[in-house]
């Protein structure tokens, strides 16, 4: 078979494979990892046995959807026992494990993530697809302002940069000012950080260094950890502050780096369907969603991760399928990237509410600062949403003047009314990694 390589894709064959062939390959790989998990992990065997399921039951594509999903709690239940600390979820001898990472523990006990060296190569391979699609090349000097700790965050991004030939500058334990000075000194061309930190660095640059971030040399920024880079108004703020192109990507400790925005920036993310089976399922019924523009929850299988396999893992990320992209990849498109998490999308006053929609409104109004906070509480039997915002010192309007426009846009976007609180600029919490701007106090 003759195939042309253009250098546009990390893997020009897999990324442009016709859908039918892609699906055939995915089915084979799904069955292989399913057998592996069942045969090597007591955790998977326990879950499948309890559901009366065995890998041989998967005979056709549609049978995939009957495989029990894996929850974060399943890992938690299997771990913290011998072989310490991975317990029954581990599928290889402990001496084969070379990498330890863990989830942040935001929703409970952290999940421990073991990887063999091969799994770790696979992690950086999945990131290489991402970086290449976003135009990172061996001419880039990439600054990574990340704490290099137990969280996987940009570890794989670091290794993948090396793999594709970039020069990597580890921003480690430097503070924000020192990081900015190092970016300036070394003339770094690219950066990786959460949207929150990208905006915070730009703010520090102005306040402390007395210069605009766009006057530095960074022209490409990869974001992760929060949906911001797929929120048009947040992306615009970051791109204007840095004079750089900002790209989104999505990944998780238990899964890998599974989706990315390409150079065409089609307003969404491509799931990497060569390495992952990415399903969108109905929030209530769990039935697969194939049509565009319908919200669902993402369930993911990593085909080639073996120490602690990820088979039909319930990511709790919410998105929807979009139309095709002009980049030439046959991978589908998740329109608008990740819209939020199931645990954050909640009913308020009987209306389905996503905090990301509020971010889009606040950051779309140039009079407001980057920070905001949302608190849902109860007054008697009535839900109350409080939105705390900061006016920029140079906003040129009073709270009374801007409030009606803010309320109008919020109502248009979310069909809900808000109690607006104006706070002095700089007084709302600032975050260095992932922000926690949404608080639901109704059940506390």
């Amino acid at each position: 078979m003759e195939i042309k390589s253009s250098g546009r894709y990390w893997n020009p064959v897999l990324e442009t494979l016709p859908r039918e062939q892609l699906k055939e390959m995915q089915f084979k790989k799904f069955k292989r990892i399913l057998e592996w998990g069942y045969n090597k992990s007591k955790m998977y065997r326990r879950i499948y046995d309890a559901a009366g399921f065995e890998p041989g039951d998967v005979k056709s594509w549609d049978d995939i959807f009957s495989v029990p999903t894996l929850q974060k709690e399943d890992y938690r239940g299997a771990q913290a026992k011998d072989p310490w600390p991975y317990g029954d979820s581990l599928c290889v001898p402990l001496e084969k494990v070379t990498e330890y990472h863990q989830t942040s523990g935001t929703t409970g006990q952290p999940v421990y993530q073991p990887d063999t060296w091969q799994d770790w190569e696979w992690w950086s391979e999945s990131w290489a697809y991402i970086l290449w699609a976003q135009g990172f090349r061996n001419t880039d000097r990439v600054f990574i302002p990340f704490g290099y700790n137990v969280f996987v965050a940009y570890w794989a991004g670091h290794y993948a940069c090396e793999k594709i030939g970039c020069e990597v500058v580890p921003g480690g334990i430097l503070n924000t000012e020192e990081r900015l000075l190092k970016i300036q000194e070394l003339r770094a061309t690219a950066l990786m950080a959460t949207p929150t930190y990208v905006l915070s660095m730009a703010d520090t640059c102005k306040r402390v260094l007395g210069k605009e971030a766009k006057d530095l040399t960074v022209r490409r920024i990869l974001c992760a950890g929060e949906p911001g880079a797929s929120v048009p108004t947040t992306k615009k703020r970051m791109e204007e502050a840095w004079g750089a192109k900002v790209f989104d990507h999505v990944g998780a400790t238990e899964i890998g780096g599974w989706g990315y925005e390409c150079l065409a920036q089609p307003g969404g993310l491509h799931p990497n369907e060569a390495l992952f089976l990415v399903e969108l399922v109905d929030l209530d019924t769990g039935k697969p969603i194939e049509e565009p523009n319908r919200s669902g929850k993402i369930v993911i299988t990593a085909f080639d991760r073996f120490a602690q396999p990820c088979i039909r893992f319930d990511s709790k990320d919410v998105s929807m399928w979009g139309e095709s992209c002009s980049c030439g990849r046959s991978f589908r498109l998740l329109k608008g990237g990740i819209h939020g998490r199931v645990d954050h999308i909640t009913k308020v006053k009987g209306v389905l509410f996503s905090p990301v929609a509020v971010e889009e409104v606040v950051r779309g109004l140039p009079q407001f600062g980057d920070e905001y906070e949302l608190v849902v509480s109860k007054k008697g039997d009535v839900d109350v949403i409080t939105l705390k915002v900061e006016l920029l010192p140079q906003a040129g309007v009073t709270p009374e003047e801007i409030q009606p426009e803010l309320e109008r846009q919020l109502r248009l976007k979310t069909n809900l009314a808000y109690k607006i609180e104006f706070h002095p600029f700089g007084s709302l919490p600032r975050y260095e990694v992932k922000a926690r701007r949404f608080k639901d106090l109704r059940h506390t």
């Binding site: 003759e2 195939i3 390589s5 893997n11 063999t116």
Partner: protein
């Protein structure tokens, strides 16, 4: 960017040859850690080549 034709079949054969030779190296290393551990890394990289090239063979043939 350069444009070139890709011969997946030839690449598949070469990857399998390199894998077989690497595994042979481990067999005859006598437990030399400097050989075994570096071979382990080569095999991990070869797995990435299998994912990117060899796993496609059945589908494309």
């Amino acid at each position: 960017m350069l444009s070139a034709e890709i011969d997946l079949k030839e690449m598949d054969c070469l990857i399998k040859e390199i894998k077989a030779k690497t595994e042979r190296l481990v067999e005859i290393s006598g437990g030399m850690q400097c050989v075994d551990r570096n071979c382990d890394r080569i095999l991990a990289s070869l797995k990435m080549l299998e994912i990117n090239v060899c796993d496609l063979q059945d589908i494309l043939e």
